[in-house]
């Protein structure tokens, strides 16, 4: 198609999308391996509903709760956007845990995917921090006391505990500054970090390829069921083997 060719000649993006869509994956991939994409979708839902909520939410202690009531009751479909964001948060965390369990049980964290696992763990921590900071934003009794208890939980850690809780609170007590601080963290710092890490996570998945499930006959390490010896067995886990520096010479 001409528009696509025009774009491809000037940017190479169409080729990149084709590479992504038509890359090789093992023939015996399992439905559990869609959990990662499901988590990504949940995150995208959170991002989009979060942007819409940010258009109406007021992060001032005197106006926060009222703005949430306004969103829920007055704004068109505001109740839906707020509900999706609130339930989507739980869904995001749950899917992350399922995805993590799947990766672990399939052994998909092993060489050469260790870095991807580390990034995944960081994403888990950031996701939980998103939940923690977002929980305070409605500024009602549940939000306040849950945050008090959550911060004090951190404070019981040895040696650094008291300082950690002080940093989380933005002082010795939860106050108006705490709300502004959490809003900034929740919608600026953490989403930026999460998006950056997800991009890296996806890049590594595309580069390193998708693994077969552990019950697969053609999984890495097991000898080919038939034939030729032109590929060394240890390379079978890599669907798109990238020759390393020095190659085989």
């Amino acid at each position: 198609m001409y528009p696509l060719d025009w774009l491809e000649e000037r940017s190479g993006l169409v080729g990149a999308v084709k590479y992504f869509l038509f890359r090789k994956v093992p023939g015996d991939v399992n439905w559990f391996q869609t959990l990662g994409s499901a988590t990504l979708t949940a995150f995208l839902v959170q991002a989009i509903t979060g942007v819409v909520l940010a258009m109406y939410y007021k992060p001032d202690p005197d106006a926060a709760y009222e703005s949430i009531k306004h969103i829920t009751n007055d704004v068109t479909l505001g109740w839906l956007v707020r509900g999706m964001h609130r339930w989507g948060a739980s869904l995001f965390i749950i899917l992350m845990f399922f995805h993590m369990a799947r990766v672990f049980l399939f052994g998909a964290y092993k060489y050469p995917r260790e870095l991807n696992w580390i990034i995944g763990v960081l994403l888990l921590i950031l996701g939980m921090l998103e939940g923690f900071t977002g929980y305070l934003l409605p500024w009602d009794q549940t939000a306040y006391w849950a945050t008090v208890v959550g911060i004090n939980l951190n404070g019981t850690g040895p040696i650094v505990g008291p300082f950690l809780s002080s940093i989380l609170r933005g002082g010795a007590e939860i106050g108006p500054d705490t709300l502004a601080r959490y809003y900034s963290i929740h919608m600026l710092i953490l989403p930026a970090a999460i998006i950056a890490l997800i991009s890296l996570h996806l890049y590594l998945v595309i580069r390193l390829g998708v693994t077969s499930p552990p019950w697969s006959k053609t999984a890495a390490g097991s000898p080919w069921v038939e034939e030729e010896e032109e590929e060394e067995p240890a390379r079978k886990g890599l669907v798109q083997p990238q020759p390393r520096n020095g190659g085989r010479a």
Partner: protein
């Protein structure tokens, strides 16, 4: 050349070096100095830079004060036992330029990111000045009667500063009227503790403090103690822990009598209270957060507290 099935290139394991130890000591000095004094931070930073520089020189094959020869045995046996060319080579122009670019870029990056991080993290470490809180005239607090008192800890900043204390007037002593003023924040994780008694909501009174903030007092009779609904911590009428996960007694407020009115001072933590009422012996400590031990062997976990 040796080759493993994946086609590893022969590795150059880093030369053995003692400088990381000094680097680590420097980092530790910086962290300790953040708590104790800025001079210690400066010393720690200097140590870190010096040892970091020496370490990098070692890694790049130009060890300061030593030969460039590799050690006899690598620290971790690598897949290849082949000879390593580890001789120190003079730095090429491109090598120097790339190193300089990275170093300069790193410096600029640090200059841009570290001050905002500092600004974001510094408030907890600054001294928090708290003003005394006026709680109304002394006749609001009859002898040996408990009152639930709700007040604003900081004036003019809204309801987020609402706090509650349980106050009982114990009678006069040589050094002035004796009050038991117990904070309602549980010593386990900070949930609001409830009085075990009959709360007489109908006799609740609200007055204005000298800062024009509302102060509400509600009588509660037949108080046998306090308990926390969150995780079941229980306390007696002096705030001592009697059951549950709290790690110490309830915190208390210092107080003063100014022009016939009760005025609240700073909060402090209590390990234990012996005796009751006027004759209570209170083991006072600096204010700690919930869940942090002030006595017993676990107190070694909480050597420092941020200023409060």
């Amino acid at each position: 050349m040796d080759q493993d099935p994946i086609g590893h290139q022969p590795e150059h394991p880093p030369g053995q070096s003692v400088w990381p130890i000094g680097f680590a000591i420097g980092i530790a000095c910086i962290l300790v100095g953040l708590v104790i004094s800025w001079w210690v931070v400066a010393i720690g930073a200097a140590i870190t830079l010096v040892f970091g520089f020496l370490w990098i020189m070692d890694l790049s094959g130009h060890p300061v004060g030593g030969s460039g020869a590799p050690p006899a045995e690598p620290a971790v046996p690598g897949p290849s036992g082949t000879a390593r060319h580890h001789a120190a080579q003079p730095t090429s122009r491109s090598g120097f330029l790339s190193l300089a670019t990275l170093a300069l870029g790193g410096l600029i990056g640090a200059l841009v990111t570290i001050p905002p991080l500092f600004v974001a993290m510094i408030p907890p470490f600054l001294k928090q000045g708290k003003k005394p809180v006026d709680l109304g005239p002394l006749d609001l607090y009859p002898l040996n009667e408990w009152r639930i008192v709700t007040f604003r800890l900081v004036p003019n900043e809204g309801a987020v500063w609402n706090r509650t204390a349980y106050i009982r007037y114990n009678g006069p002593t040589k050094s002035g009227p004796s009050f038991t003023i117990i904070s309602n924040r549980c010593a386990h994780l900070g949930c609001p503790v409830q009085p075990l008694g009959l709360i007489q909501k109908s006799q609740s009174k609200e007055i204005q403090s000298v800062n024009l903030e509302p102060v509400r007092t509600t009588p509660v009779i037949a108080v046998s103690g306090f308990s926390c609904p969150c995780h079941g911590g229980a306390y007696d009428t002096e705030g001592n822990r009697t059951a549950g996960p709290p790690v110490r007694a309830l915190d208390r407020f210092q107080y003063a009598i100014v022009k016939g009115r009760l005025v609240l001072g700073t909060m402090y933590s209590v390990a234990h209270v012996d005796g009751t009422g006027k004759d209570a012996q209170i083991q006072k400590h600096k204010l700690f957060g919930p869940g942090q031990h002030v006595d017993g062997w676990e107190q070694i976990f909480y050597p420092f507290t941020p200023p409060s």
